[in-house]
């Protein structure tokens, strides 16, 4: 798989691509025959993008509207009385900031643990022979096919027995185990693509196995590690079902559950709710935008072959 370049790339890469394009000339056959349909395609692409982004822009707009305006029968797209009071209210009420940092901690810790364990396991799969290696690997792939929500009941029982309900490290444990199969799958493909000769010369200088992983393989695998990190971060950041099942102590709630507190039995404070939603959305979009530049190589080498 290749061609996952999305949006911003480093400037040098873009310039060199442009140069290459010029060399190749414009006679690369298009998907649609002689005509390139540029205008029609542009219009349709903008339509797709607009539909994709509109609800989110609407949320941005609502988060700046005073609650009175939100409740009119004539919804407005551009706030007529813009205000930041929703943000202040969202951040200070209901322990929201605590939920934010709970989630941030859980997400970051999950990323670290997943990256460490997935690289160790992928390194073993890529470079060593051990009994039942392929069988074990296929067990992992099978785990990919098992939907995570199906596991919630046994997970709950298991965590209850381990006394890990109402515990944020407990969440990290579950999130890590659910992200490992895909991460190992992706990293193994990437590690195997690194030439063995490099490793051998590294070993000649006296490096041990772990040093090979941290000093050679990992630095060369930044794109794949970045993809793993992004997927894992987003998973942990937005996870709702497991968190709402395992956690009910109000100081340990995570952000997605915390957002729910703006929804009352009879009234919903939409303004703060959407401001809170912005706090929940910005980190994941930020992480995605920052990591875009690694996505292409990360998915193309390790992904489906």
């Amino acid at each position: 798989m290749s061609g996952l370049q999305l949006g911003a790339e480093p400037k040098t890469a873009r310039a060199s691509r442009r140069a290459r394009r010029r060399d190749e000339g414009s006679h690369e056959p298009s998907l649609f025959g002689v005509r390139t349909w540029t205008k029609t395609r542009l219009a349709l692409a903008c339509l797709f993008a607009a539909v994709a982004v509109f609800p989110l822009l609407y949320m941005v707009s609502l988060s700046f509207q005073p609650t009175n305006d939100i409740f009119t029968t004539h919804p407005t797209l551009i706030p007529s009385h813009p205000t930041t009071s929703n943000y202040v209210q969202a951040w200070t009420e209901n322990d929201f900031s605590r939920f934010f940092f709970n989630s941030m901690g859980v997400a970051l810790l999950t990323v670290v643990v997943t990256v460490v364990f997935a690289s160790l396991a992928a390194f073993a799969f890529a470079r060593y022979e051990f009994p039942c290696k392929e069988l074990i690997f296929y067990l992992f792939l099978a785990a990919l096919a098992v939907p995570s929500v199906d596991l919630i009941i046994p997970q709950y029982i298991l965590m209850a027995r381990l006394h890990l309900t109402n515990s944020l490290p407990g969440l990290v444990l579950i999130y890590t185990s659910e992200n490992l199969p895909f991460s190992i799958f992706l990293l193994r493909g990437f590690f195997e693509a690194i030439p063995k000769e490099l490793e051998e010369s590294f070993r000649l200088e006296g490096a041990r196995s772990l040093r090979v992983l941290t000093g050679l393989i990992a630095p060369l695998s930044v794109p794949a590690l970045a993809v793993v990190a992004v997927f894992t971060f987003n998973f942990a950041w937005e996870e709702f079902v497991v968190a709402s099942t395992l956690i009910d102590k109000s100081t340990r709630l995570t952000l997605p559950i915390g957002l729910n507190s703006f929804i009352g039995e009879h009234t919903t404070s939409w303004g703060p709710l959407f401001a809170g939603s912005m706090f929940a959305t910005i980190p994941s979009i930020l992480v995605y935008v920052i990591s875009q530049r690694w996505f292409k190589r990360g998915v193309s080498v390790g992904g489906i072959r």
Binding site: R21, C46, L151, P154
Partner: protein, 274 residues
């Protein structure tokens, strides 16, 4: 090296304990036997949920594939602003379900919702539909939201596949005088077949597991009429503490999905060989 082989089995044990557990609780209690399963097939709630789940799969999966493929086809070749447009189309995928559910719940709200305001433009009297409070309008919202959030994923998969379609082949068949429709049917689609199979199977698995959006939007209501299978299982487990009944439902689902996706993978593979 030691670290790899000591830590690895340790963590592996953790992993298996999470993943294999779910198959057993329903069956592990010999006193109950198959009662849970028999009860399941008589349960009207399960029946409604099964219908809703099936409808969800049949409606959302094809639309996500068609629209995702269309968007990918549009954005594969050079186009001004291509990178930005690609990024924007992918954004719903990285937005959290909770946030998405709130936005759409508001758009389809009875009072002050955009959907009603928009429809009111076309009618003489203002529309006051409480979308999420009725079965079929509720289902419609669930479908729309799911398709909206899902397109970006199939889009990116198809984008990667279309990018490596051999252009010389396209050219050759055009030189032979094939029309564009034929080129697509006989050259483009066959060459993205593996991706198509992958996307189809993963979407089917995902769609049959639909629940979070239902839970957040309608809560399965009114009176369970928009409930889906996983919702019934969750409710049985955590509202009624019928863990083994819930596990029975989840197990049957897992088996059906697994068999279905294996059969499908086989069929698609066979097609490839021909």
């Amino acid at each position: 090296m030691y670290a790899v082989f000591i830590i690895y089995p340790l963590y592996r044990q953790f992993n298996i304990s999470f993943y294999d557990w779910h198959i057993f609780p329903g069956a592990s209690n010999p006193g109950v036997g198959l009662t849970n399963f028999r009860e399941m097939f008589k349960d009207p709630n399960v029946r409604t949920a099964a219908v809703n789940t099936l409808l969800f799969v049949v409606i959302t999966v094809p639309i996500q594939i068609v629209l995702g493929l269309a968007a990918a086809a549009i954005l594969t070749d050079r186009l001004p602003g291509r990178g930005l447009l690609r990024g924007l189309i992918f954004i719903p995928v990285v937005t959290s379900w909770v946030v998405v559910a709130y936005i759409f719940a508001y758009i389809f709200a009875e009072q002050g919702g955009l959907a009603n305001a928009f429809l009111s433009l076309f009618t003489s009297h203002p529309v006051h539909t409480d979308w999420l409070a009725h079965r079929w309008t509720g289902e419609a919202v669930i479908w729309i939201v799911s398709i909206w959030k899902g397109i970006g994923w199939s889009f990116i998969m198809f984008l990667a596949a279309l990018d490596v379609v051999p252009r010389t082949l396209l050219e050759a068949s055009r030189v032979d005088g094939a029309r564009e429709g034929r080129v697509w049917r006989h050259v483009v689609l066959p060459s993205i077949r593996p991706t198509m199979a992958f996307v189809l199977v993963l979407l089917l698995i995902g769609a049959s597991q639909v629940w979070i959006q239902v839970f957040l939007l309608t809560g399965g209501g009114p009176y369970g009429s928009t409930q889906v299978l996983l919702g019934v299982a969750y409710q049985q487990a955590f509202s009624f503490f019928n863990f083994s009944y819930a596990a029975a439902i989840a197990s049957v689902m897992a088996v059906v999905v697994l068999v279905f996706s294996v059969v499908q993978m086989r069929l698609l593979r066979r097609g490839e060989v021909k």
